[in-house]
Point group: C2
Chain length 192, copies 2
Amino acid sequence: MIQKSETRKEEIVRTAEALFKKKGYSAVTMRDIAQAMGIKAASLYNHIQSKQQILSDIIIQIGEQFTEGMAEIVAAENITSIEKLERIIKLHVQITMENPSKMATMNNDWMHLEGKLDYYLQLRRNYEESFRQILKQGIEKGELKAVNPEIILFSILSTLRSLYLWIPKREDIIKENLLGKLSQVMLTGVTA
Amino acid sequence: MIQKSETRKEEIVRTAEALFKKKGYSAVTMRDIAQAMGIKAASLYNHIQSKQQILSDIIIQIGEQFTEGMAEIVAAENITSIEKLERIIKLHVQITMENPSKMATMNNDWMHLEGKLDYYLQLRRNYEESFRQILKQGIEKGELKAVNPEIILFSILSTLRSLYLWIPKREDIIKENLLGKLSQVMLTGVTA
DNA sequence: CTACAAAACTAACAATTGTTAGTTTGACTT
DNA sequence: AAGTCAAACTAACAATTGTTAGTTTTGTAG
């Protein structure tokens, strides 16, 4: 298997996103990032254009990954709404397991985007709208409870968006089917 | 009804927390806060000791409110675990409706606490541990599904901690029983 | 009208910020 | 041995940061 090794720029982004996760974009300085790599701040600029570009790279990459994933789910045929919800949950778990720090950065620091803020917001609105449509169809078909879809949307999405906080700490839980149990709790509740 | 009018310091905190909610503690400057009040940054120091004190006031006040609320729930007798969960949900909805910006600040900027970080973390650990105990009792008594309590805890708490994002935008939903519907979705799920 | 306290102001500080310019290092290739 | 090129370095900048000191304004009670 050929493995393209990490470029220096990717290394910087990876270092930066770990710091962003801990303290947030605004509280992390270029000197912090440089120090974590064992070099001086000015050296970073041989590889990246600006601090803002690091943020933008992180958020847009993940945002587009969600957009693609949701498009596939929407396009899936012969599938119940419940199964679509399960696939949404799976999408979040997968992306979060592979990029916990990027997820933290997207969730917490999107408002510091400068050039690409509007684009990001559009991706997010579209994603949420697709989610809403799936819920509405589920209610129409009688597969979901007839509760205000906004409440369901809020409730599920809040949990999924917080996954980055828990996944890195709970390797144990993950290995034994986080996905199945999480789906069970979110879809069928907790009462016996 | 006698109404103690807001002190200047409280006005500053209220202005600051709204800005913290939008951009986060680190991205808000003392000049931002001052400008929002129509005065100069130096004037703030007639009323407060430091930027850090503003943050600390906000977070500790809310943190202690949760601690007190949870203590009452734990102490309640002749109550099922389900009813305890409902009271936890009610506690979050109430505090969040009354202090959406403070909730945002506590959730997003606690890591920037300097003097009182350890105290805050202790409050939070105790709160989560009480929550966990309630879940375990519920499972033992057969009132809750026998799912790993960590997953239930994570799932419910994620939703409750995100309430600050939605409550200010959804006056409509709130008036017609947010509490009941949210409890329904979180406790009994969404499948029909 | 005067006195006093609250709350604003101006001016400045030392530290830190993101970033640029120009230079040096060090590992390969020829 | 000489040349090349990525990637590090030093030094500096202009702007912004939280905060302080000292002074003036404002409103109210005697």
